[in-house]
């Protein structure tokens, strides 16, 4: 918490930050690591000195600082760059310094403020996998602020959508991304999903059009084929995505079924029985 809010509360774990004195807040901030869009490194200090900065603030003994900085350099893969200055590093390397610095005091939470917005796609992916790695290895909660949907899709578990200062939607990433409720969420999600307009299909196709959603391991099972094989129903996939969000596979398909209504309904029942979501488009 860098600025005191005019109202409301800020809680990290059990601690209510708004009630702390300036001194207490200073101490408490050490339990929250933070990385920034523009890295905000000390330009006049080496990589090593940048990482030791928070440790010196915490008044750790010199030998301990050195040991900890070596560990951190190794964690973010910058051992060979310890004595360089930020201006000599690439954007991705600077952000790695930022991450090492943020982790120095073993924080409970790592705040990432648009941490990848200033980086190219490749570097973004490298930083994201480093964050995932840290999340798994150190068990630190990572709170990520971003407008890049693919960042959320590839590393986040839960997501909250904020519009005009209010949380308008919150939940598991898979849930929110596959079934966005709020207009702004739909707008965001359409950035990464193939935006499709079913109206055109509805007017030109004669069969029964449905949208099928599924999540989890069933994504990789031959469910559609199994459901139709004992019937005379035929199907065509008109549009669709099969992909993963972080570790969860999912699929979204628009399918045209051709056959007798009764048989088609039977197929739908079977698919629903396996956990797929089937919805008529007409």
């Amino acid at each position: 918490m860098l600025e005191r809010p005019t109202s409301g509360s800020v809680k990290v774990g059990e601690v209510e930050l708004t009630r702390l004195s300036t001194n207490q807040l200073q101490k408490e901030r050490r339990r929250i690591g933070m990385i920034f869009q523009h890295f905000n490194l000390l330009s006049m200090a080496t990589v090593r000195d940048n990482i030791s900065f928070p440790l010196e603030l915490a008044k750790l003994p010199r030998a301990e600082i050195k040991k900890r900085v070596d560990e951190l350099l190794k964690l973010v893969g910058l051992e060979q760059h310890a004595d360089k200055f930020p201006a000599q590093l690439s954007g991705g390397q600077k952000q790695r310094v930022g991450i090492a610095r943020a982790l120095a005091n073993n924080p409970d939470v790592l705040l990432c403020d648009e941490a990848t917005s200033a980086l190219d796609p490749q570097t973004t992916n490298a930083i994201l996998s480093l964050l995932l790695d840290i999340n798994a290895k150190l068990g630190i909660t990572i709170l990520l602020i971003t407008h890049e949907m693919h960042v959320i899709r590839s590393i986040c578990d839960r997501v909250a959508v904020i519009d005009g200062g209010e949380i308008v939607e919150m939940g598991d990433v898979v849930e929110v991304f596959l079934k966005p409720q709020h207009a702004i969420t739909k707008d965001f999600v359409s950035q990464i999903a193939d935006s499709f307009d079913p109206r055109e299909l509805i007017n030109t196709r004669s069969g029964r059009l449905v949208k099928i959603n599924y999540v989890g391991e069933i994504t990789y099972e031959p469910l559609l084929f199994n459901a139709v094989k004992s019937t005379s129903v035929q199907f065509t996939i008109l549009q669709g995505t099969v992909s993963r969000m972080k570790n969860t596979p999912y699929g979204q398909l628009v399918i045209e079924f051709i056959g007798a209504d009764a048989e088609i309904n039977k197929v739908f029942d079977e698919l629903r029985g396996k956990g797929l979501e089937v919805g008529d488009l007409k």
Binding site: R29, S43, M44, L57
Partner: protein, 225 residues
């Protein structure tokens, strides 16, 4: 040909030139030291109390800023005379090397303070924010972030101030301050000894050149951008 005959180099008393050079260096060194200490202090306070900074205090800023402006708007030659009582109280004399140091500091410190304020403003706000996020106190931020990050700007400011002080030390010769300016005034001007004038001016030029070169070298050494 006439010029050459006019200048009589035998008039130059080299022991006096030597003594005057030493006096100038002493005045410069001592006044620069106090100017840096005082100016740094005032500059940091100006910066911290200004708008949207760590210790925002509009009244303190306005008052300090006014004092700095007043001191900067008084010409040095008049300032020297104005603060003579203060000089006397501090050093016991208004003459010589000792007597010239207080006016030099009073004139140069506000100037340097503004340069400090400007260099501190150049420090990236994001870095200050990052330090705050890491639990740095205001004092930590001044000492470990601001003064470190502004170092090239501060060194450049010290260089400019030192050069300004050289010309001020020369002026203090008018009220009997000693040094090269005093020599130029007494021999070069009042006794029409052009040779002395040339020697002192040459020495002052060399001194300014050396200061500027040393300053530029330091700035380059500490620049990381």
């Amino acid at each position: 040909m006439m010029m050459k005959q006019d200048i009589d180099w035998s008039e130059v008393r080299w022991e006096e030139v030597w003594q005057a050079s030493k006096d100038t260096l002493t005045m410069l060194g001592a006044s620069l030291l106090f100017t840096i200490i005082l100016g740094l202090l005032i500059g940091v306070v100006l910066f911290l109390t200004s708008k949207r900074q760590l210790l925002e205090q509009p009244v303190v800023y306005a008052v300090l800023s006014l004092v700095v402006n007043v001191l900067r708007s008084v010409p040095f030659i008049i300032l020297m005379i104005l603060i003579m009582p203060v000089t006397k109280a501090l050093t016991g004399t208004t003459l010589g090397v000792q007597g010239s140091i207080p006016p030099l500091v009073v004139a140069a410190a506000p100037f340097f303070a503004r340069l400090v304020e400007t260099s501190l403003r150049e420090v990236d706000r994001g870095v200050i924010e990052a330090a705050q996020a890491m639990g740095a106190s205001r004092w930590d931020i001044v000492r470990r972030v601001l003064l470190l990050e502004a170092r090239p700007g501060l060194l450049a400011g010290i260089t400019i101030t030192a050069v300004t002080l050289v010309s001020y030390t020369a002026m203090s010769g008018v009220i009997g301050g000693g040094g090269l300016g005093d020599l130029a005034l007494r021999y070069g001007y009042q006794r029409f000894q052009t040779s002395v004038m040339i020697v002192t001016v040459a020495l002052l030029i060399i001194l300014v050149q050396l200061l500027q070169m040393a300053g530029d070298h330091l700035v380059r050494r500490f620049s990381r951008k």
